[in-house]
Amino acid sequence: KSSVQTIGEEQIQNPYTELLVLRGHQDIVRFLVQIDDYRFASAGDDGIVFLWNAQTGEKLFELHGHTHKITAIAPFSSSDASEEKNYLILTASADRTVIVWDCTSGRQVEKVSCFHSTVKCLTVLQRLDVWLSGGSDLCVWNRKLDLLCKTSHLPDAGISALVELPKSCVAAAVGKELIIFRLIASNDESEGWNVLEVKRLVDHRDNILSLVSVNDFTFVTGSHVGELIVWDALDWTKQASECNFWDSSVHPDVQPEIKLSQSPNETSVQHLTSDEECVFAAVGKGIYVYNLQMKRVIACQRTAHDSSVLHIEKLPNRQLISCSEDGSVRIWELREKQQLPAEPVPTGFFNMWGFGRANKQANQAAKKMQENTPMFFLELVGDLIGHSSAVQMFLYFGELGLATCSADHLIILWKDGERESRLRSLTLFQKLAQNGDLQLKF
């Protein structure tokens, strides 16, 4: 089978030459959320929320309040211009509560426990100064934690993902469906709000796993069977879709077999991220770069990891970081191929045939192979090995480094050794001066 690309022990471009292990959690750590420039919170199945200093690795607070595992976490910082910024976080747990924490004091600000089911997602709408909780229904809350309004009970498992859209709208992923809600402030009272279901989109064949907003005009969804759909954020129409990530052009002849053998996990769109030009999708073990302009996959790494990729992130410097169930974190760089294909096909791989036409594709596979040749490729520039179990998520802190959390209960802070060394020297001389040791004494 196709082997995973490996990189030797020599990784010149890998800046992370120092690591700090942060211990505290007693179960799988699933969420990391950035609070401000140097702080982040971690949460997981043990129900505890930790606040950390990303520079020193110092544990700032240990927040106890939930009795079950934490299912969602969102930063909830007030942007009151008058007061100084108030750093809050929202956490939702399987104990059917949502707690608001103050990150400065490490205290529990308030606890909401009137939910009928577990809240699976939290979204803060800064524009409207409200926050939403999604579970078996969608609730709208204001900053004071008053319930403004809620929807009726939703079918299936309830809302699994929420994304904010323009014009006071939100898109909620409910099973295979995508439901668009609109929030309306009542005319009579200032406090009155209403939430209306505007549209139901049923284009996905399987559960929607990931939902990401690209810009004010576009958002993207990915499903369990490897469908990626690009939507117009204003009129909620489908702009484009990609559904055959699993289509391995390497084995065009044995495609049906491959299709059968492929478990849904290997084609499911686990995570999506985007910059202005591209959507980056973690599909099964691979990573795909889909260009919105060209409406095609421009680069891919079919087996980027040994097992499912759980989280990917685009860095400003054309780099991409992915983490996976195999316990590793890999750093990729999107590079342009030297020789461009002689005849770039504008329509490319983008197709509008609908779904489930595998046989048709198979017929055209050979032809498509040429068309499909990406103009870019992802090069592995480094890998970070430290966790002994699945790396659930990571948080990129720019210069401060990278925080990764894992099922082995650990959080690892990866740092640029050179920079840290320099900083330590700086601190050292500051301390010397402070102690007055710099003066010569005879």
Partner: protein
């Protein structure tokens, strides 16, 4: 792939020195003057011809009231040690200087006999005929059956080397004081016990007599008393009196403040019950006596352990009676404790004096290197409380500020410190004393400058000689107080005190000076410690501890009928109470307001007035001001703190190093190689460690050195392995057999930089799969290779984390690690080295690592190597500068740079670490390829 290490002969060291000619020369403290008789082919280590014993030993003697001075035991307890040396004769000599006159009797104005709580006296004696010199520690123990209730004993440290005794006087004094305190504590316990029994006997006798009298009274109704009856009545009266006397004695002995044991935490103050049957017995007796008191009729009912005997009227103090042995006198538990302590002393001071001195100097210097010594030095010694100096440190706390100021001024002309100057400074003092006689108020005289211009004085100066040897061969060369006085005199300069209040008191000490026959006591003072209550003891009116006993509060507490169950608590209470009382009594009772400082005069006055020349022992620390002059500039500010340096320096290390010692204990427990080490003693050939706690680690060093030597000879890839350790890459020793793996780990452990005080990064044996956290914690790991599913996991984890580790496979003799092309390790581990012995190799490694440390220190603390000089300077030029410094200035090549960089990181981390906050251990690593080395 394997870079065969080039031959670097040991003699290449000189070349190295040429390379680093910019380095300052060897500190002068280390330069040893040439042996004066070297030209005659004499061996400086040859035994003094006249001495009749082969090694130093400790002698305990008693001045028995029956047979006179007699030796009791020697430590080590081996006939070979003392050889032909006449212990009886020497006992006679040393015991005859016991001028303590510890006297018990009826002091005028007191109805009852009083116990003397005499302080020990310490003298140095020389017997040039026998070639023996001794530190003699006199003490008295209480014995109810002895004359005056006291038995004089002495412990003597006997050596053929006079300088050793003189130079180690302070240390000896401190150590022997501990032993003495232990003995005396046990003795007080036993004495109280004895008194109680005696009281019970008396009580019983009284009852019997009383009954007899009653019977007689009844039988006799003639109205007059028979002579028999009168005799009985007299007897009864004398028994009554005796009871009161003994009760008083008991009260006195109980009131003894147990302060010293409380201060020095070396001996358990209260022995455990299990270990101490005598104690248990004592408690039982207390119970019975307590119960027996109210109703005399129950006298026999509650006596399980001790049956009172009838005391014959004139049974006391018979000369044919067998005197109690030392063991009986002191309670077996305390006796064994004391013996242990004495053995410790013997071990500590074994070996040549120059070794002891060098060791002490090194230790003092190491303590100053607070920044780097955590890397490779054994930190356990920092845990040690410098004996005796601590008292002084405490005392001086009050005047710290003044002292500091004083010391920060340009120092006095540098004293050339060498073994020679120790000698001469000792000798120069008598002359100085004469000057002081004329001008004793002038504090200037006591400054260290005075030593300097008299340096060339010969010890065998005719004047001194004449005054000390008066025909016979024993000389008392000096005592503790005088030495203390001199040491203190430094501080006199900064804090002048009026000596007058102390004069009267110090005379007391000198009054006892005996100058009989062949013995000359040059000076003496009874107590060794400087705490105020000691002066009471030497002051006539304060000899008896009356204030406590008669004190209302004291009387209440010291009542012998106290509930025995609370005895322990009571005693604790007493301790505290007495401490307070003593202080207040001292302040009120004495005219001296500043009793903290009277010592200089106390030491000097008696000599002056008696016209006895005194040669005080000279502790090496006295030379410290000079030492700072030469060292302080280069090293750090720490050197400035002067005389109290050992005490004051690095309180953070005190706490930290305790951890270290705990850790090393752990090491001991988990490694078989250590187990025997504590019990065994070093052979005579190797110099013994100067610090007791080191003996185990010394043993370990030797063993590690030997194993390391074997390792570098056996494995051609030793260099990359050692490089891994020095550069902070975890080295895993993989093997099936635990013993082999542990041996390798022990061998390699001497190359592991000690990443911090809190965790020694060596793990001897691990069986579970490793994790990234382990590499953060441990830099050297012994790992079990197993042929089981679990073993597969272990190996899987190893391959997964291979980028963080080097793997030394002990079974297949392979090494997987990065390439090493530097030169440093080849000097450190030359497989063709001529070094044969483990301890020597260990020292060789230490010296090179110390060099490395100094490089790392320079690199870390050079400001411009890490930070831009001007704000606009780009980072690249700083990096260039840094690399140039490493390559050109420090002469490092290739991978050696990484070693220094790693050590520098450790230094930085150590320095910037916030005290009290645990460091978040970080793991640094490089993405470098590894290679497989095979034999």
């Amino acid at each position: 792939m394997i870079s065969a290490p080039d031959v670097v002969a040991f003699t290449r060291e000189e070349e190295l020195e040429d390379e680093l000619c910019s380095e300052p020369p060897l500190p002068e403290e280390y330069s040893v003057p040439l042996f004066p008789f070297a030209s005659h082919g004499a061996n400086p280590w040859a035994k003094v011809a006249s001495s009749k014993f082969t090694q130093d030993f400790i002698l305990i003697s008693e001045f028995s009231e029956q047979v006179g001075p007699q030796p009791l035991l020697t430590i080590p307890d081996d006939a070979k040690v003392s050889g032909t040396f006449d212990l009886n004769y020497f006992s006679l000599r040393i015991m005859s200087v016991d001028y303590q006159a510890s006297f018990v009797g009826h002091p005028p104005g007191s109805a009852y006999p009083k116990l003397n709580f005499v302080e020990d006296s310490k003298v140095v004696l020389g017997d040039s005929k026998e070639g023996a010199f001794a530190y003699v520690h006199h003490l008295t123990l209480y014995d109810l059956e002895a004359r005056g209730f006291v038995r004089p004993f002495c412990m003597a440290y006997i050596s053929a080397d006079e300088h050793k005794i003189m130079q180690q006087f302070q240390e000896l004094s401190a150590e022997f004081s501990k032993a003495s305190e232990c003995l005396k504590t046990g003795n007080r316990k036993a004495f109280a016990n004895e008194l109680e029994k005696k009281l019970k006997d008396l009580d019983y006798t009284r009852t019997v007599l009383h009954n007899e009298t009653e019977v007689q009274k009844k039988a006799n109704d003639k109205g007059y008393y028979t002579t028999q009856a009168i005799e009985k009545a007299n007897e009864l009266a004398s028994v009554e009196k005796s009871i009161i006397e003994h009760q008083d004695l008991l009260k006195q002995i109980r009131s003894y403040p147990y302060r010293k044991l409380k201060e020095s935490d070396f001996h358990p103050y209260e022995p455990e019950r299990v270990l101490d049957p005598a104690n248990a017995g004592c408690d039982q007796d207390l119970t019975t006596s307590d119960l027996a008191e109210p109703g005399e009729t129950h006298l026999y009912a509650h006596v399980p352990s001790y049956t009172p005997k009838l005391i014959k009227a004139k049974s006391a103090k018979c000369f044919d009676k067998k005197l109690k042995t030392l063991e009986e006198l002191c309670d077996i538990y305390f006796f064994t404790q004391t013996l242990e302590q004495l053995h410790q002393i013997e071990r500590t001071f074994r070996g040549d004096v120059c070794y002891l001195l060098t060791d002490q100097i090194s230790r003092a210097l190491l303590k100053q290197q607070s920044v780097t010594n955590f890397l490779f030095e054994d930190m356990s010694f920092l845990d040690e409380k410098p004996p005796e100096k601590q008292y002084r440190g405490c005392q001086r706390l009050g005047q710290d500020a003044i002292d500091k100021k004083c010391l920060e001024e340009p120092p006095a002309p540098k004293v050339v410190i060498s073994l020679g100057s120790y000698k001469s400074s000792v000798e120069s003092v008598p002359i100085k004393m004469e000057q002081e006689m004329e001008d004793s108020q002038d504090p200037q005289m006591t400054e260290s400058i005075t030593f300097e211009h008299q340096e060339n004085l010969d010890y065998l100066d005719a004047d001194i000689k004449g005054s000390i040897s008066s025909g016979e061969s024993i000389e008392v060369l000096g005592t503790e107080k005088s030495a203390a006085g001199l040491t203190k005199s430094e501080s006199q300069a900064s804090l002048p005190i009026s000596p007058s209040p102390q004069v009267g008191r110090s005379k007391v000490g000198s009054r006892r000076t005996v100058s009989e026959d062949s013995i000359e006591v040059l000076s003496t003072c009874p107590s060794e410690s400087l705490i105020p209550e000691d002066f009471k003891a030497s002051y006539p009116s304060a000899i008896n501890e009356e204030p406590y006993a008669d004190d209302e509060e004291g009387g209440l507490h010291f009542n012998p009928k106290l509930n025995p169950d609370n005895a322990d608590e009571q005693e604790d209470l007493l301790k505290q109470e007495n401490l307070v009382q003593v202080d207040s009594a001292c302040c009120i009772g004495k005219e001296s307001p500043n009793f903290l400082e009277p010592l200089p005069d106390l030491g000097q006055k008696p000599c002056d007035e008696d016209g006895v020349v005194r040669i005080p022992p000279q502790p090496y620390r006295q030379a410290e001001p000079g030492l700072h002059g030469s060292f302080g500039g280069f090293l750090s500010h720490d050197g400035i703190s002067g005389g109290l340096l050992p005490y004051e320096l690095d309180s953070r290390y005190m706490t930290g190093s305790r951890e270290v010692s705990k850790n090393s204990l752990d090491e001991c427990s988990d490694s078989t190689s250590y187990i025997s080490s504590t019990a065994s003693t070093c052979s005579d050939r190797t110099p013994s460690p100067a610090h007791p706690a080191c003996s185990a680690s010394e043993r370990h060093k030797k063993k590690a050195g030997q194993n390391a030597l074997r390792f570098i000879r056996q494995y051609p890839f030793a260099h990359p392995a050692i490089y891994s350790l020095l550069s902070g890459r975890t080295l895993i020793v993989l093997g099936e057999e635990e013993a082999i793996v542990k041996k390798l780990v022990t061998a390699l452990s001497i190359f592991v930089p000690n990443c911090g005080l809190y965790a020694k990064p060596v793990k001897h044996w691990v069986t579970s799969p490793l994790h990234v956290v382990d590499f953060q914690k441990w830099k050297l790991i012994g790992l079990q290779r197993m042929v089981s599913p679990a073993g597969v996991n272990v190996l899987h984890a190893l391959s997964r984390y291979s980028r963080y580790v080097s793997i030394l496979d002990a079974d297949s003799k392979t090494l997987r690690c990065p390439l090493y092309k530097g030169t440093l390790v080849s000097r450190l581990a030359d497989h063709r080295t001529q070094i044969k012995r483990g301890s020597t190799y260990y020292m060789h490694v230490q010296s090179i690592l110390t060099q490395l440390c100094s490089k790392a220190f320079l690199f870390t603390f050079c400001h411009h190597l890490h930070l831009p000089i001007s704000e606009r300077e780009p980072e690249e030029s700083v990096v260039n500068r840094r690399m140039n410094f490493l390559k050109l200035q420090l002469g490092l090549a290739n991978e050696d740079i990484k070693i220094v960089q790693y050590l520098a990181e450790l230094l930085k981390l150590q320095y910037i670490q916030e005290p009290g906050r645990g460091v978040n251990p970080l793991l640094r690593f490089d993405y470098v390829p590894s290679f497989l080395y095979k034999i």
